[in-house]
Symmetry: C2
Subunit: 341 residues, 2 copies
């Protein structure tokens, strides 16, 4: 589903059954095309994952020193989740090298984000944007293509509608985590997942189910949360309150703040980690190395991920980027996981 | 040192020995004044803490939907410190209400920040900026006044050169912390402080020394760090490696990530918390409630602090803000502090 770099305006024209000139008219918002033709061209571009190269002329009249990022999370949650801080700091590390600033906006929903991106682009406030937190049937790809706005999508190509995308292979990583816990002898495995609406949560959920099926694990439970430590604590309390034969012996978390909270709940309930329950975090910020026991984690370089996303956006603006994954999270075993007893 | 709201353009004119019109010319960067007169006017405005109200006319030609924030920290550190993400999330909570975005830039030094703020303002990219991390003899107040740029300074008025300021009363809070630890019977108290260059670090250092003098505590040690968990761990390891009679029985940290790291170092060294050493954090993000034992902390609402700073900036832009502190951090005792044995 990634964007093959070889797709050209010619391919789009052929698929839409029009001339290259018509594709150009559509993307430059010039008159002379029927709505139906215009829509057909945008659909073809979207299907092929093609975005117009900006010409030198249009670039010269645009800011090239500001990059946009809208995040659809409650402000209070944003401050608590290490992931976004690390991601933004990685983005900033590349922007700083190029004397660029980040235009950051918290939005309440996707409609608001669509309006914000539209206003940023038409108002020449940004030279391009980073799109995050894709959902099923996300409207942002079509919107960016209609605007001819350079964007990079942070998410699996199955979610990002043909946009140039950078992603982590969550399905492979989460399967690896389940296989590892099963290899330690755990049969009742639980996952405290992220927000149900998000595409990458659904990808992980499906991959855990699939891994459990292959491994013949009947007792896998998955719950969703809002990513906060409090919600992670609540979910852990509920899981560890199950009767003895039902209680999970291993819990996998979708971020690290929830795993830290889980560790604290286990201590509060007198459940020993890792003797009674193994805990496995995700993301692996420095938090995981500061707890007692230290937290085993699916570790990836979130700072480097943000930096790669920013570099890719500059590539899109220059007309030379293609979709690619970053390194798959790897399991780093520490003190919170052990064989099932 | 705060800006009395009653200072007017007339006072500035009187102090500079010029007409109100001359002050207006200077701040609107209009021709007709000698450099000496212009400098005298800026100096007078600075001494009185006066910033021009933007007229409706000048406002109408400026963006009023973008607020600037430049932070002088290495990108990687920014992602690790809960304070700034909480602060930014508080700023965003107010910006979102007003459909505004935050222009965020990491800079390497103050010269770079001066250039960035200048470019943002002259390029009409922001309607005002939030200035943070003030140092002694900080050049940013004079620069903002010269530009006539609406800014709010996050820092004690003794550091912010007459700018409209919002601050926490760190001296009072840190004295309170030392008094509390002394009341628990601790005589050898250490503080793992933040970056030595920052004004608020110096304020806390002086206040701890003063409190120690008043309380007759001879064994107070203070060290500075870069605010990272790693540096906090290193400092704690060094403090706890002192011979028995020299080892601190209580350690106060300038943020919470270092206190979490300190807790982990104590466990690693077999030093019991709080039986052998009491630990007291600062800022009090949710981390402090997720550790075992939970961390006692000087607690303040960092999210609310960011929100108040953003509200004050809108006040400055509207010409009606004055300097004020936010609530002083209060001591929240939890499991990591106890009487000295």
């Amino acid at each position: 589903m990634s964007t093959p770099p070889r797709v050209t305006i010619k391919d789009v024209a052929a698929r839409a059954g029009v001339s290259k000139g018509a594709v150009s008219l559509a993307f430059n918002r010039k008159p002379g095309l029927s709505d139906a033709t215009r829509d057909r061209i945008f659909a073809a571009a979207r299907e092929l994952g093609w975005t117009p190269n900006l010409t030198a002329r249009s670039l010269s009249s645009r800011r090239v020193d500001v990059v946009g990022l809208a995040i659809c999370r409650p402000a209070r949650l944003l401050g608590l989740e290490p992931f976004y801080m690390e991601f933004v700091s990685g983005v900033e590390s590349v922007l700083t090298e190029r004397s660029c600033s980040l235009l950051l906006r918290l939005v309440r929903n996707l409609d608001e984000e669509l309006a914000v991106q539209d206003a940023w682009w038409r108002g020449r406030q940004v030279s391009g944007s980073i799109l995050v937190d894709f959902r099923a049937d996300d409207p942002r790809a079509a919107s960016a293509q209609r605007l001819g706005m350079p964007v990079v999508a942070v998410g699996h190509p199955s979610l990002t509608g043909g946009l140039t995308s950078v992603w982590t292979d969550d399905a492979t990583a989460v399967s690896e985590a389940v296989r590892y816990l099963a290899a330690l002898g755990h049969r009742r495995i639980a996952r405290v997942g992220g927000a149900a609406l998000l595409g990458h949560t659904a990808i992980r959920t499906a991959a855990v189910d699939e891994a459990a099926r292959r491994l013949g694990l009947a007792g896998v439970r998955q719950v969703t949360t809002d990513f906060s430590g409090e919600d992670g604590a609540r979910a852990t309390r509920s899981l560890l309150s199950a009767p003895d034969g039902d209680r999970p012996t291993a819990i996998l978390y979708d971020n690290d703040i929830m795993a830290v909270a889980g560790l604290s709940v286990a201590a509060e309930m007198g459940v020993r980690v890792p003797a009674d329950v193994s805990l496995l975090a995700w993301d692996d910020s420095q938090l995981c190395r500061l707890t007692r026991p230290t937290l085993s984690a699916m570790s990836h370089d979130v700072h480097g991920f943000g930096a790669e996303v920013a570099r890719t956006l500059f590539g899109v603006i220059a007309g030379e980027a293609s979709s690619h994954p970053v390194a798959t999270p790897v399991l780093v075993p520490r003190g919170s996981t052990a064989p099932a007893t």
